[in-house]
């Protein structure tokens, strides 16, 4: 197995008396596609919030490569290549997709503090932003305000924004949430075609999609990792069948 790019040790988090993360130990190797599954309220989004620094853990450590990033601010984690998307669209409604992706590209290239040069002067940044949008089939709508885009296109823009930061590790929080089944398979094939240099952890409720696209699966229940294994092992795991697969699970 290749080197671990993202790992956590003993992560704990509770909201009052509600424990949402308990002793979470996770290792994401270079270039892998991991699925994180679990019932509603299991703490999956919270785990992403903890790893990306949007929430502070009560205890435990987070490592990106060899570096302890537990105390880093979210934007500094992004600069080091740890990037997420959101379960509920978190876009820039009145920016166009081109502007939004340009924003992310300029931030990454350390140009975003420059106020005396006009945007059109950044030709290669524009080129890069446009290439990302085209690769996600958003080229045709890249000059429309984001709030006018179809919902499925907005989900793709979520991913485009993340790609513009040149991630090493990409955490996708239900990228296909709210997208019709047919489109969701298409969206996941786009995701699985992303560069193998990027390690991906995705949250998804549709087990067909999970089994098809994940190289390994982590099952979370009530803030704890129940089991981790290959799709084959997971589908055969009795406890998983009982707590997760056994009943209708999409919320």
């Amino acid at each position: 197995m290749s080197a671990t790019v993202l790992s956590t040790r003993g992560l704990d988090k509770s909201f009052g008396s509600l424990i949402v993360a308990k002793d979470i130990a996770l290792n994401l190797p270079q270039g892998e596609r991991y699925a994180l599954i679990g019932p509603n309220g299991a703490g999956k989004t919270t785990l992403i919030n903890l790893m990306t620094g949007m929430l502070q853990p009560d205890g435990g450590r987070i490592f990106l490569g060899d570096e302890d990033i537990t105390a880093l601010k979210p934007e500094d984690r992004v600069k080091r290549g740890l990037v997420r998307t959101f379960q509920i669209n978190a876009l820039f409604p009145r920016l166009t997709p081109l502007e939004a992706v340009m924003l992310a590209v300029c931030e990454r290239r350390q140009d975003a503090g420059t106020w005396w040069r006009r945007l059109p002067a950044y030709r290669d940044a524009i080129e890069e932003a446009h290439t990302i949008l085209e690769s996600l089939k958003l080229g045709a709508v890249c000059h429309r305000p984001t709030h006018e885009l179809a919902y499925g296109q907005q989900r793709l823009l979520e991913i485009a924004l993340a790609l513009a930061t040149k991630p090493k590790v990409l955490l996708l929080d239900e990228p296909a949430a709210g997208v019709p089944k047919e489109e969701s398979a298409e969206l996941f094939s786009v995701i699985s075609d992303l560069s193998k240099d990027i390690a991906i952890l995705f949250i998804e409720h549709d087990m067909n999609v999970v089994f098809r696209f994940a190289s390994r699966i982590i099952v979370m229940v009530s803030g704890q990792i129940l089991v981790e294994g290959s799709p084959k092992e997971i589908s055969a795991h009795p406890r998983v069948r009982e707590v997760y697969l056994g009943r209708s699970h999409h919320g």
Binding site: V78, F92, W115, H143
Partner: protein, 332 residues
């Protein structure tokens, strides 16, 4: 000004079109010299409009572009005015020296407070800016040995512009000077909002939660734009002190902070020209109404403000932009 780009799909051409000068902009600035010929007796008023427009432009940078609400922006305006006035009292009456000093002092105050500003939003932010505004006002009131307190600053002596043109009662030099300062600052602001930094500011306005997730240091951006905005507000205050030759506590009044907010909302925040159009309408209307009944002046402004925020969320310019785009799509 929003620019329709039609069917342009090339991203380079599209972004160029976004920042290109619109014919209406040339018309606007050409019209700004009309008062010299049409209203030569109202140049003092014209100068007040230009100064207020400059002040509104400074607020637009933080409110219209970065989404930071302030109810205490007069603090920076007043700091610029007092700095310039006090310096002139002690022999530093040259307009450019005063302008520079006023903007530096306002900018330093802006930079110092920006560390607090960057950490808060919404109601908290409104209260903080309001409180800081009161604080500066009261400090100026108390320090009467320096500021003259409620009697106003005595002995303001502004030297002639370039050693030749004095600021007199006719306002010829005053309007020339305010207009030139406004135009230069406007060019800088226009450049800024079309830059990568300007784009990141709009990002903060549109979704502050997403910004860190694309690697953006929002706090640093906010500190920077708040400082720049304070500098410009300070310049506006300095120009007022110089062209009017007086400085009183009125430059720090809450009323001034509230008025400039109203002006910007009326004209259209986040539209570059919103504050300029708003200032024009507001100052002219106030001048007309106060001739009839000064007490009733806020009645029509109140009605107008309520009507605009209810029916024209983008202000007067936003409404006009919507109208033209509707008409255009009808015609094509």
């Amino acid at each position: 000004m929003s620019i329709s780009t039609g069917a342009v799909t090339d991203p380079h051409l599209y972004l160029q079109a976004q920042s290109r000068w619109h014919p209406l902009e040339f018309a606007f600035w050409a019209a700004s010299i009309l008062p010299f010929f049409i209203f030569p007796n109202h140049l003092v008023l014209a100068s007040q409009i230009a100064i207020t427009a400059l002040f509104a432009l400074s607020l637009d940078l933080i409110l219209g572009y970065a989404g930071i609400v302030s109810l205490g922006h007069a603090a920076f305006f007043g700091l610029g005015a007092y700095t310039t006035g006090i310096l002139s009292k002690y022999g530093w009456g040259d307009p450019f020296v005063g302008l520079l000093a006023g903007s530096v002092v306002a900018g330093l105050a802006g930079y110092a407070s920006s560390f607090i500003i960057a950490r808060f939003r919404h109601l908290t932010l409104i209260m903080i800016t309001l409180g800081l505004g009161f604080l500066v006002h009261e400090a100026a009131n108390q320090a009467s040995w320096l500021t003259g307190g409620s009697d106003g600053l005595q002995g303001v002596r502004i030297g002639p512009l370039l050693g030749r043109f004095t600021f007199d009662l006719y306002g010829y030099a005053a309007y020339t000077y305010s207009l030139i300062v406004l135009f230069i600052v406007f060019l800088v602001v226009r450049r800024l909002i079309n830059s990568p930094f300007g784009l990141s500011l709009r990002g903060i306005r549109e979704n502050p939660v997403r910004m860190p997730a694309v690697g953006a240091p929002s706090h640093a951006h906010i500190r920077k734009i708040y400082t720049i905005s304070a500098v410009i507000a300070g310049i506006a205050g300095a120009v007022l002190a110089q062209t009017s030759g007086t400085v009183s506590l009125g430059v720090l009044d809450f009323q001034r902070s509230a008025d400039v907010l109203v002006i910007l909302i009326l004209g259209g925040a986040g539209r570059l020209y919103g504050g300029l159009i708003g200032a024009l309408i507001f100052i002219v209307a106030r001048d007309q109404f106060s001739g009839i009944n000064p007490q009733l002046w806020y009645f029509p402004i109140g009605v107008l403000l309520v009507a605009v925020v209810m029916f024209l969320p983008g202000g007067i310019l936003g409404g006009l932009a919507r109208l033209t785009s509707t008409l255009r799509s009808r015609w094509s």
